[in-house]
Symmetry: C2
Subunit: 374 residues, 2 copies
Amino acid sequence: MKEDKGIKQINFGSGPAALPPEVLLQASEAVIDYNQTGLSILEIPHRGNLFANILEESKALVKELCELNDEYDVLWLQGGGRLQFCMIPMNFLGAQKTAGYVDSGHWADEAKKYAEYYGNVRVLSSSKESNYSRLPDFPKNIAQDISYLHVTTNNTIYGTQWGSLPAITTPLIADMSSDIFSRKRGYSNCALFYAVAQKNIGAAGATLVVLRKEMTKNIASTIPPMLNYNEQLKKNSVLNTPPVFAIYTSLLMLRWTRQKSIATIEKESIEKCSLLYNEIERNTLFTPIVTVKEHRSRMNICFAANNYEIEKGFSDFCNQHYIAGIEGHRTVGGFRFSLYNAITVQQVERLVSVMQEYEAIQNSKLKTHNYTNG
Amino acid sequence: MKEDKGIKQINFGSGPAALPPEVLLQASEAVIDYNQTGLSILEIPHRGNLFANILEESKALVKELCELNDEYDVLWLQGGGRLQFCMIPMNFLGAQKTAGYVDSGHWADEAKKYAEYYGNVRVLSSSKESNYSRLPDFPKNIAQDISYLHVTTNNTIYGTQWGSLPAITTPLIADMSSDIFSRKRGYSNCALFYAVAQKNIGAAGATLVVLRKEMTKNIASTIPPMLNYNEQLKKNSVLNTPPVFAIYTSLLMLRWTRQKSIATIEKESIEKCSLLYNEIERNTLFTPIVTVKEHRSRMNICFAANNYEIEKGFSDFCNQHYIAGIEGHRTVGGFRFSLYNAITVQQVERLVSVMQEYEAIQNSKLKTHNYTNG
């Protein structure tokens, strides 16, 4: 990553991810003076009206964007996905039951491993045997002893994604950390869904949890309040001091999302990933990693270079062109470009032209080489 | 609180608390462009060099400020004090042992209640019978079956504070959320101490935990990584995406603290609380709540008004003079002025003059009243 110029980079990182310039500007101003109150957003009391308004507006926007009725409530928590990996089995597994997990990759598997600390777990489908380069089947005819089914909707490392989620009778719990608000998908088919803020929602430090209120009815009172969804709901996300700045930045991003609309975001998302996948498939230097087209993620586009020299060369070339956050996960290698909501179509067009420019340079090198040796 | 003018208020709130203007300015600038990298601080990757440098510098500063050797390590976690209330007994209580708690007020009692979810707990001393208006005795001759002793060094609600902590053989665990870095105190007498960031450290969303590495030797492997100090240490606070902005703001505040020095901060802290307590005791309208002078907190100064009319009137008067965050906790009432590290001597002098001005107005009203009725 280029670190010496102060020229704005295009950040294709998988998270913490890019945010729109107007969101960054408003967040930056609020650190000095929040809405002309004479107080920094970092100083406002979390039990006063200023924060109560932020909280209520953010909750209303989440419900509106996900088309949810009043059977649902919204929580802002801390601790990221991993604390949800703990809280979900702690609150919902139950002593006589078994938790069902769909194993679509590293994060789905981590969620499952955490559940094993708390009770019985069964993997209902997995694509591990194909190194997660495709989605597993969505489980059908789920057994009665399964207390909930956990899915990870988008698999950042491998670049696969579930589209719409089906309506099932078993409570469906979805980790939407890396694709929430990027498409319509039947959010109300979930009993609970959650997402870390640092991809499509806002800034690292806040975790969004949306759940059907009836889910909290049978939570054991032996779970301490901080880790108990029921107690957190009763205290409306201010059981203790919340991450005020991260939630406020999320509110700014939620306003941006509503103004744009999920429909427009989804349309642009399709356009962005088509642009990039078309170029990967056309470009003679690169090969896509996910070959099953209908399993491809619109959020994370993973591809390999033809050889190590091309990989290193293209990485440096991106660096020189102020394109950041492009490395594939260490377990997969190659490149990963994350096209979260804040990334524009123009930025993807810029990336495509950089890929073409790099190919042209390589081809001309090759010709010179052939000529010299010819 | 005055919300309509954009004039900088003096924030005496108990937390999220005031931060120095220079810290706010640097934090604000980093939201647009972090150190001329072309990336916002909200976008930088948490596993890259940029964040690794923030983490290492912050850890070194904490150890330097607390005069700790390499037997100690530093963690940045999420979840505030309450998640520590869970993790401490979860990690350190042990099945055959009893956790010892000193009950010096609401937060100390909350910490104890959380421990009761995990095992045997004994309160070794308490000042509950005096409504926590004084400190309890510090426990002596602690029994062998006590696995750790938990104390809350500063009691924000009541305005009491422990000074230096004694060296004891039982592992001493201290919640220093509201007075860390405000004084020298023998930090190395603690086996573990922790503090939420939103008072003397930085911004809400980060929790500082400092512990002797040997404390993690016997932690049960049945505790999932996210809640396990041993696993968090192994992963150097990046087991998952940390709250980057809150940690960076804390680093800015740590640099400010080092530049000023703990010695100077402590000297000013004594000056600030003397100024305010002298005025409370002199002023005919107010009465201090903590009568045992050596138990008084330098951080939170609590006092009552002579009657409801004075209370309401002074509250409005402060509001008119851009003085915010002054209400006492609902369980104690009256006023609470928090003099955390970012509050200057000049700001306390300003407060004292506002108190004197208000007294003069009340006295002149009284004279007019007496004259009218005379």
